[in-house]
Structure formats: structure tokens, C-alpha cells
Amino acid sequence: MKNICCVVLTLFLTIGGGAWPQNPNHVQAPKEELLINHHLAGAKGGRLIVSEKAEAKTLNPVFALDRPSRRVMRIINADLIHINRSTQRTEPALAKSWTISKDGRHYTLYLRQGLRFSDGAPFNADDVLFSFAVYLDEKVGSPQRDLLVIGAKPISVSRLDLYTVRFDLSQPYAAAERLFDSVAILPRHLLEKPYRNGTLAQAWNLNTNPEQIAGLGPFRFKQYVPGERIVLERNPYYWKADKQGNRLPYLDQVIFLPVASEDAEAIRFQAGETDVISGLSAANFAVLRKTERAGDYVLQDLGPGLEYNFLLLNLNSDTSERLPEIARKQLWFRNLKFRQAISLAIDRAGIVRLAYEGRGTPLWSNVTPGNELWVDTHIAHPPQSIDQARVLLRDAGFTWNGDGQLLDHTGKAVSFSIVASSGNSERLQIANLIRGDLQKLGMQVTVVPLEFRSMIQRILQSHDYEAAMMGLASGDVDPNGEINIWLSDGSTHLWDLGEKKPATPWEAEIDQLMRRQLTVLNQSERKRLYDRVQEIVAEDLPIICVATPHVLVGRKGNLGNFRPAILDDYTLDNVEELFWIPK
């Protein structure tokens, strides 16, 4: 991946009236502390058209869960500390700097002074306090709350002065500053009333008058045409500027178009109707590549992203009475040698070649090579070996009959089904390729395409499945974002949900390692602990990791400052810097 380092310096700068709109109601506002990027240049004007796989449902950052809504909101709002998608490290945003106490429990954030929301109202510590009060309020029920509760206690926030805020954690939490990323700071002057009235959930929907919506992001909401588009216009009060002191963003408008499918997205991009595309499949990437020159667009393969695809075997312990047939098969799944044999039989190179058309990377553990800060490069990459897999199965007491079918110790044929989401053709193909590989071991595997929601319902709730082909991608490189998957009592501990205590010694070890890395503040020590977790995943195979697709994006030929990254949302993180290169 290209690591484009963007050096951002914070400087104090005063911009006089005249060139930029000033709200006459706030004459006594302190001087404005803009964030100046001394390496940035661009030209003003133009609009950017972006497609989305579905229409955004809301503009309310407190409740938004769906990807399209969050994508729009990330542009309308700003966070205190931001993770730079290119460098994968934190950088100042609304907080110009911060200090951490020695015990790692107290964070003091110094806010930029003189900033304004997109409606011209001033921003200060009260807005930060209000925002966190809303996110942490149990009655509000924001999905963000989970992230801000550390060691069963919510973060406490206090105001030191008008531009200084202190966050206190109940226990040390490694890389806590990463938590502030994407937590939108809300305008107290607009949302306090609905919050007090208990009508916050209805506030800021797509039909709200744009004047009632304000944020600190580079663009502000202008218009919503149902089923057709969401129009954002530049925020004249945005707090970043380029090397010449020009206030960002460069673009006048950003327009989101909902389209029906990934294919439709690719077609519209190919036709020149949209300017940026992300989340391309390898197949559509290849189609677009054919007309790349004539179509005046540029495609980029950013290398492996954070998504890891894996075969999940049902190891849930609550199946014995409800689902006896699955419980019978779990005797195989719980056998480590059986899982190792499956892992050895999988043709990962073939999967990458066929399902990802070569634009993917084989995986043997959960962290992809795209996550350069955290990947354990010492994990073994054993190649496919049907012979070794057969030896393992024989050692585990399995035999073969005359037709080559694999039999367990009771003489029953080994057969199971793999569920996969019918909407994801790549994952479905991976499941089918694995079916072919396991057939070579004499296992009779059927692939069952299921609608995504019913598959997730089976995996997370009813546990009525035998094996599943799944993929996960964390929004951040830091392991803390995935802690609920790895802890045995985690809410998304996929392979065995609802464990009272770790069912196996290696799960106990993962618990211990994950809990320890959470509180250790030394980065190299955290890395050492998380390396061990990756090794356990590779050796004890709670999930059998298979491959990661590359992140594939595209842009119009003359779009400048385009810096895509392997972190969500890949292309628009620096939307304020994008500009049209004059032809």
C-alpha cells in the first residue's frame, strides 16, 4: 500500500473578515485556530458525485447504524481526534492537542478556539460535554455507547475551561485516543431541546429542514430528493486550510446517489456518471480496467484490506438438546485434528486466483498483511496438502470406505453443510471451492446459499448451522475494535456464543492476552500479546482463515489529492482536500 504521509501542522492563524462569512451575532469570538496543511494545494469549485449501495436512512449521528448514513455523516460532522486513514495513526482534529496521564486513565484535550458549526454558531467545550452526555445516556440507547464504556464503566467527561475537556477512564485503556475517531461532536444549540424533550430519535432525519442541521464537517446538508440523491454543500466555516491559507473544502458540493447493486455502481462509474468508486469487486475491477483509458478514469489496487474471510465451524455448546444432529457433527468439529485437516486441505492459492481473480491474499490467521502495525509476520503458511490432511484424519480415528467416503469412529459418513450469504458471489464461490477441496478428503459437503439476515440470525441467535463462510472487517487497525469476537464472553464470540467460562485452555489464553493488551500502554508489549492471539487462531483454528480481498477503488482522471486507504471508507476520508484539476 502506498503510504502517503501527510504532515499536518497546527498553527494559530487569524483570518480577517471580508473573505469569509462571519456571523455578526458572535463578534466577541476568540481568534479562529485553523488547521493548516502546509503541503496542500488545490483549486476551488466543482462537485463530486458518489454512489451508495443503499440510500442513507438518517442524518442523526446518535442513532445511525447503516453504512450509507454513516458515510454521509462522516462528511457533515467532525471528531475530536481523527485516525488518518492513510497513516493508520491518530492526528489532531477538533482537539488541537492532548495529554495523557502517566497511569493512562486521564486524557486532557485542548480544543481549537474560535471554530463555528456550519450554521455559524460557535463551538466550545459545552458542545463536547453535551455530545458525550447524549452518547453515554442509557435512555438514548446510542450504538456508540458500547465503545465508550470501558471496564463496565462509562468514560466520565468534565470541562476544565471553555476550550479544555478532561476524559477519565475507570481503568487504563490502550490507545484510548482512537475511540474519539468518528464520534461526531453535536451542536448543543440545536439538539439540546429535542434531547430534553425525549424527541432526539426523531430529530435530524432526511426530511428535516437543512437549516436545523449543523455540524463541524467540511460539508453541510443541503437537499434530499427521495430515492434520487442527497446533496451536501461546502461548509463556509470549516476549520482546515491549505498552504495558501485557502479555507477548505475545495469542492462546492458532494452528491450521493443511491444505486441498486455493486454492479450498477460499476456501470454508473464506467459511464462517467459518478466520480469515485470504492469497494469494487475484483471481477468488476477487471471489467472497468478494459475501458480505463477511454473512460478517463484511474483504478487503484490498494492491496489487502482488513477484511478476513474464514470458515466458521459451529462450536456452540447449547446445541446438544435442541439440535441433536448438529451436536453429533460437533464431535468432529471440536476435534483439533479435524479442523487442522480442513485447514490443510483448503486450496487458498486457488481461492485467491478464482474468487478474487488474483486480487487477494491468502490468510492463515485473522490479521491481514494490510494491517502493517499489527500483523504477526511469523505465522506459518503451510501450503495445501491433502496427504497430510489425510494423516491427521487417520490419527483422529477417521476411516474411509470403499467409495472413498470419510467415516467417523461410529462408521457414519462425514457430511455437513456450509451456509453462505447468497448476496455475496465471491464468498459463495469460496464456499464452493472449499466444498471441492474437502471432497478430496472424502467429506460430503453441501453449500447452502442463504439470505444474509437469515444467515446471521442462525449464526448469532439460533445456532442452527453446521458451518458458515463469513467475512469480518474491523473499522480500525487496533485489536480493541474486535475484542468482543475474541473474548469468550464477548457478544460476538462467533464460534461459541454465550460461554460462561472459556471452554478450552486456548480460549482461556486468548481471554488473558486480550484483557492484558487492553491495559498495557506500551505498544511493543501490546503487539507481542496480540501476536500470540494470532498464533493461537492459526494453530487452534477457532475460525479457519482463508483469504482477504484487496481494496479496489477508482476515481475520475482529473480528481486531485485523491488518497484512498484500506480503512473504511476508503476514498472520502480527505474529501475536504479533493479538487478538480483544471483541464
Binding site: 477487471a286 486466483r353 471441492g436 446459499p449
Partner: protein
């Protein structure tokens, strides 16, 4: 219609069904064999002249050389010719149960042979079209027989006995006719279990398609039975004390036969399409078994549709099938005596 056209249509159908039945012999590969180094390989060209311009009596192919630069890009390796041979012996591995054969109609020695290219798994499309015809053609055939049997039963009961039975059965068939069949198929298939073996899936599809289609033939047959029942010779036979069963078998059923055969010729292609539609939507016969419908399902993806034209070959195969059945059904309507000259 010319007799020759009808004969050609009949011969086409017989040939297609025979190829499907003996797929193990006609197809160069088993339908599930994956050549994972050759995804989306284009159809191999059959040459008579080699790269140096020399002519050869025996046609030959060149091997595909995958290009490392791009996915699914190949060029012909002209360094060696692979002559096409007929009646080659090859073990047909990876297939259990059905009529499989060690003898194949054609093949090449020492190389792979993809005359219709390969799919995304590197499986030979020609072999899959041939194996798939067994599923798709016979699913239509069996389903049509099923719904005709249902139609004859309901139609003759309603037509012969009339009265309350007629009312009840015909209003029932109206109900079936009023339902949009595609949605009904989808609903019925979705209601059934998902985890079933391919063989079970085949019979399930046949059953679903066949059982939902009895209403139209039932109405027709009822009409024929109704008119036959009132014929003088039937009334005479009844007067002589013939039993209901005797009358149905001896006098009425021969009248119905013509309608049945015509109906069959109309229904079979419809049901072939129904199976293909179901499999196209992922509700019919699933991977890795080949059927024309699930082969065509991959065309739902933009890149397959635009880049790999040979993936449409199952759709091309439908043309001779649909043509032959339409010729036969038309000639049955226009010249029934050419087929039923006994009456």
C-alpha cells in the same frame, strides 16, 4: 407444414435427449471437475492449419497458456499441436452413481480440451451443457407428465360426472390459474427445506413444477370429455349397460389422447423454462450439479455478462429445443391425423 420439418424436429429432440442420457459418453469431462488453473478460458479453436501454415487432415487444438499479467487472459501455445481423437478412453473420475463411462466421444491426448471454454471454477462448459441437458430436459419432461396425469384425472372426473364435482374441481383449477405461477413457485420452493441433496432437489423441482401446472390441461380435458360424453355412440354404449370405467377407457380416453399429446408438446418447453427459472434464482438444483438454469445464473453478474460470452451457451441450446417442440405442437394442432391416423 412440411413433413421434412417435422421429421427434423423429432430427430433433433431424440438426439438431444440421447446425448443427455449418455452424457458420460458425449461429454469430455465430468461436470464437477475443476481445472483451477483455467478459469474462464475461452473456447479452444479447432485448427486444420498450424502456425507455420501447414495443413493437417486431422483437426487439432492448441493449449491455452494462462497469462500472468491479467486474470482469465490466455494465448494459444502454438509450440505443440494436440490432435482431436474420437472414442478416447479416460477414467471419468469424481462422479458417483449415474451412467458414467470410461469411453468418451472425443478428447485430445496430453492436454485439456475446452471446446466451449470454461466457467469461473475452470469447469468445461461443453461438458456441463451436456450433463445439464439431462437435468433440464428431463425435468421438463417428467414435470409435464406429472401435470398431465393430474390434468387428466381432474379433467375427466369433472367432465364426466359434472354437477357438484365439476363445480368444485373447476373452481379449484381457476384458483390455480389465477395465481401468478412464478411467484407461487418461488413461495413453494422457499417454504421447503434448504439443505437437500442435488438428487432430492431435482425431484423437488419436478414435483413443484409438475404439481402446480395441472389446472390448464384439466380445463381442456374437461371440455373434451364433456363433449365426448354426449356423443351418440357413447350414449348408445351406456344404454347397453357399459360401466363408467369402460366408457372412459374405450370411448372417451381416445378422444382425449390427441389433446394430451398436443398439451404435452406445449407444456414440456414451458416446464424446461420453469426449471431454468427456478435454478436461475438459486431455488432449483444447486452447485455443483450442472443444470442449464444454474449455469445461466452466473450471467446475473455484470462481469460474466460482458466478458465471457460462452457462458451463454445453455441459452443457445434452448433454441433448438424450443423450436423442435413448437414445430411438433403446431403440426399436432394443424395436422392431428398425421400422428393419430388410427382415429
Amino acid at each position: 407444414m412440411k413433413k421434412r420439418t417435422i421429421k427434423t424436429a423429432l430427430a433433433t429432440l431424440v438426439a438431444l435427449h440421447a446425448i443427455g442420457l449418455f452424457a458420460g459418453f458425449f461429454a469430455p469431462y465430468a461436470p464437477t471437475i475443476e481445472h483451477r488453473d483455467y478459469p474462464y478460458a475461452p473456447p479452444m479453436r479447432i485448427h486444420f492449419a498450424d502456425s507455420a501454415g501447414r495443413w493437417h487432415l486431422r483437426p487439432f487444438v492448441y493449449a491455452w497458456l494462462p497469462q500472468s499479467t491479467n486474470f482469465a487472459e490466455y494465448r494459444e501455445d502454438t509450440s505443440r499441436r494436440y490432435p482431436l481423437r474420437f472414442f478416447v478412453e479416460k477414467p471419468n473420475s469424481g462422479l458417483v452413481g449415474t451412467l458414467h463411462s470410461h469411453l468418451h466421444l472425443f478428447g485430445v491426448d496430453g492436454n485439456r480440451c475446452f471446446l466451449l471454454g470454461t466457467d469461473g471454477y475452470g469447469r468445461d462448459v461443453l461438458s456441463r451443457v451436456i450433463w445439464g441437458s439431462r437435468i433440464s430436459l428431463f425435468a421438463g419432461l417428467i414435470a409435464a407428465l406429472l401435470s398431465l396425469a393430474g390434468g387428466v384425472l381432474v379433467g375427466s372426473l369433472a367432465g364426466y360426472y359434472g354437477g357438484l364435482a365439476d363445480e368444485f374441481l373447476m373452481r379449484g383449477s381457476d384458483l390455480f390459474l389465477a395465481v401468478p405461477w412464478l411467484y407461487l413457485l418461488l413461495a413453494v420452493r422457499a417454504f421447503l427445506p434448504l439443505q437437500i441433496s442435488p438428487v432430492q432437489a431435482f425431484f423437488l423441482v419436478v414435483l413443484v413444477v409438475g404439481m402446480l401446472g395441472w389446472a390448464r390441461p384439466a380445463r381442456l380435458i374437461r371440455g373434451v370429455v364433456l363433449s365426448a360424453r354426449e356423443r351418440n355412440y357413447v350414449l348408445a354404449a351406456r344404454g347397453f349397460g357399459a360401466s363408467d370405467f369402460y366408457l372412459l377407457r374405450k370411448h372417451i380416453f381416445p378422444q382425449v389422447l390427441g389433446v394430451m399429446v398436443t398439451q404435452a408438446a406445449l407444456l414440456i418447453p414451458q416446464y424446461i423454462l420453469a426449471e431454468i427459472t427456478l435454478s436461475f434464482f438459486g431455488l432449483g438444483i444447486g452447485e455443483p450439479v450442472a443444470s442449464w438454469g444454474n449455469m445461466l445464473a452466473s450471467l446475473q453478474q455484470y462481469f460474466v455478462l460482458t466478458s465471457y460470452w460462452w457462458m451463454m451457451s445453455p441459452a443457445l441450446m434452448l433454441i433448438p429445443v424450443a423450436w423442435a417442440y413448437s414445430v411438433i405442437s403446431r403440426s399436432l394442432i394443424e395436422q392431428p391425423h398425421a400422428f393419430f391416423n388410427r382415429h
